[in-house]
Symmetry: C2
Subunit: 501 residues, 2 copies
Amino acid sequence: MASAYEKLKTKLAQLVSLENIQALVEWDQQTQMSEGSGASRARHLEALSGLTHEIAVSDELGKLIEAAEVENAGAAYDSDEASMIRVAKRNYERARKLPTDLVSEMSRATSVGFEEWVKARANNDWKAFVPALKKIVELKQQEIECRGYKDHPYDALLDTYELGLTAAAVEGMFSELRKDLVPLVKAIGAKVDAVDDSCLHQPFDETDQRAFSELVITRMGYDFKRGRQDRAVHPFCTSFSQDDVRITTRFDPNWLNPAMFGTFHEAGHAMYEQGSAPALEGTVLNGGTSLGVHESQSRLWENVVGRSRQFWTYWYPRLQGVFIEQFKDVSLDAFYRAVNKVHPSFIRVEADEATYNLHIMVRFEIERDLFGGKLAVEDIPQIWNDKFNDYLGVVPPTDALGCLQDIHWSAGLLGYFPTYSMGNLLSVQLYDTALKQYPTIPDEIAVGEFGSLLRWMRENIHQYGQKYEPQELVKRATGEPMQSRSYMAYLKQKYGEIYNV
Amino acid sequence: MASAYEKLKTKLAQLVSLENIQALVEWDQQTQMSEGSGASRARHLEALSGLTHEIAVSDELGKLIEAAEVENAGAAYDSDEASMIRVAKRNYERARKLPTDLVSEMSRATSVGFEEWVKARANNDWKAFVPALKKIVELKQQEIECRGYKDHPYDALLDTYELGLTAAAVEGMFSELRKDLVPLVKAIGAKVDAVDDSCLHQPFDETDQRAFSELVITRMGYDFKRGRQDRAVHPFCTSFSQDDVRITTRFDPNWLNPAMFGTFHEAGHAMYEQGSAPALEGTVLNGGTSLGVHESQSRLWENVVGRSRQFWTYWYPRLQGVFIEQFKDVSLDAFYRAVNKVHPSFIRVEADEATYNLHIMVRFEIERDLFGGKLAVEDIPQIWNDKFNDYLGVVPPTDALGCLQDIHWSAGLLGYFPTYSMGNLLSVQLYDTALKQYPTIPDEIAVGEFGSLLRWMRENIHQYGQKYEPQELVKRATGEPMQSRSYMAYLKQKYGEIYNV
């Protein structure tokens, strides 16, 4: 006779497999599918997600969880058994909170929202987008009521993307940061021409870009035997198991950054997914624990490692060997400064390490006030521009380059942006902790080795999969909650030196 | 209120989507997946096929079919409604005939069978394969009892792959053929050196091979906007909807035939799948009606068209333009003869148009006698070699090159081989009928046009999808049952001229 736990595990394995398959079907859609196959693909995804949802909220699953819980009442908190039951129960309860009607209505509202947003951005017309966004916000308010919250309504949305995250916590993180970051960025803004990054804007052969980036990430620890890289319009990382983690990239024939740093970034996500403990494969505990922790891994390899002086000490001569003409007159120092150029700008996805969090701050404050009843959808453009002026010292000339730039709101992704900043902060907090255990990490990086850094991440983050909630994991790994002190010190030290501020 | 028919259609659409997704997951496995991802992929496929099977045999589906049948009792036989209900009922009844235990046991037996076959072939040791094949045959006998049959036990297996096909029908088709084909092949066998195909065995750049083949199939009518071509070790065609039909090929850097004729062949399958009536998309009626009819389409474009003199009249100068050095001293006539070289050999997959059916005849007679109780697994090698000597005038020097060459039996594919011959016969029977309506087809082909031929296939075969059973479809399209007369006349005319026999 199978134990209650075994029965639950079997059922969950089915559910996980269906979710994995859905990710594969979506990967195919983004990377392989031909243009004429869209309608039938929508049919496939609808059938699959419907079936997955049915199982995820089924009474049968609820009963299996209950029985396994009783049977394993004595299991240690961090045993695989207790963790699996705990996470399954949490997922189950969350899935059952939303009525199917609300999910369908949101799906329709975001379909409309996306179309309206595309048009509004093209026409630089915020007013045209207002009705669709109002509808989405209204449905999100209903969702908030269904999910429940303690302090602030916005907490319910934050918690969807980052378990346990609250508006108060985000405010805490940003208020510390704001104090030092705004003056730093303004000081750099005054010397923006001190760094010349024109060497990155030259013709670069796509095959060579690809070969170089793939060589680097292989050395970092991305395992191509358990994954692959493809081209996609919007790069992403996806996984169907810890043994099948795929990344995508896009190439700009006249700009080195998108493919190169993009590949480091996605490889960071991918190494996290490839690093769950083998025993977790195929279970609800496999994979990354949250968007914020995931982003800490991508930012770590993209920025903390991939934009460091040590890194380029080893790799720049090799890059010069690939792009001989382009870099023959560019020194290591000039190249290092180029890849770290800071320029306060309007567009989040083009933002550098120093200004990125200010972009997020603007969005967070707007979203929080929207759900706190302090701000109307109509008033967003004015507030947006005011905040940009305050934090970055620049004002977007149009709404298309301002509050209409991102897809997120049209897709109903409200409460999502703060996870990007969490990623930035955590990338340095984790790196600094790893340094304490392995002080030779920078020296290793300077000779093209990443073993100790990856080992620390494997041991302290990756192996646990989803066993621990994000803030619990950070506490265990670094001995303290998420903080912005490390990140701010990192920025000050790095950019103080580069810009002499 | 949705009608009973609408309810059934919705349920079937879900089932069809799951089957489509399974095909996509398998396509990915064959073409994209990395080597280290195999174990998790097996888990995905197990979950998906389990769920699909559950729905396919569910009481719920049975009740929906019954209700729709009552509601549509007056619908015309060939209406979409009546056809969908009829096909759904047939699939349902067939799916419910096999007990789950038998399916699982067969799955285990073929896993073992495959491994034993690989070893036995490598060691040229039929005896080592006997126990595994005996087990498979024994389970197939149980399957036959579950499925039922009228005249010959083997009929139950034939019917699995080609609805309504019987041993008697195959015997009829082969006895006609044997009479004329065996002497023809022996006459050609005596003059095998009359054709030199060494021009096909030269170095050919893969990119050029690919570009040329894809140009040709685009002109034939394969729509790349609703499909794509990838490399695979064992080429195949698969589809996830009529708007997403993908083909695969393999390249031999020193032999032109595999990729070129292989691509024509798979494109033939693919055009059939792309050609179902749009109203059938996403329903149980979408796609090809049987393996045999499918093979008629692939063989049509590969051989009847792709190895014809008219075809190369137009395309050979273009091929010469791609492979300038290779063909500069080869005349059109020499090239045409080269791609039609006949040489009686041991290996089915390398067989030419003239000898191919003799390979199938050997396998059919052995399978039939195996299930008719006239032949023991142990005795297959001797019988195999005797028949090869009788029909082809050659005897395989080893069992590895004889009865151990094909994967089919180890995979439980018994009753499958005759569909290959059906495809050959039908390719010419259909082509001849098309010629009656469009006598200019050969002239069109000679100027690189395929419109009338494709139109005839679309109108008489493709558009119906699975609405008609294979033999019913052939009768409707050609006015008579499947026959071997046309094919034999085609071979005699074509090879009589080439070999002067």
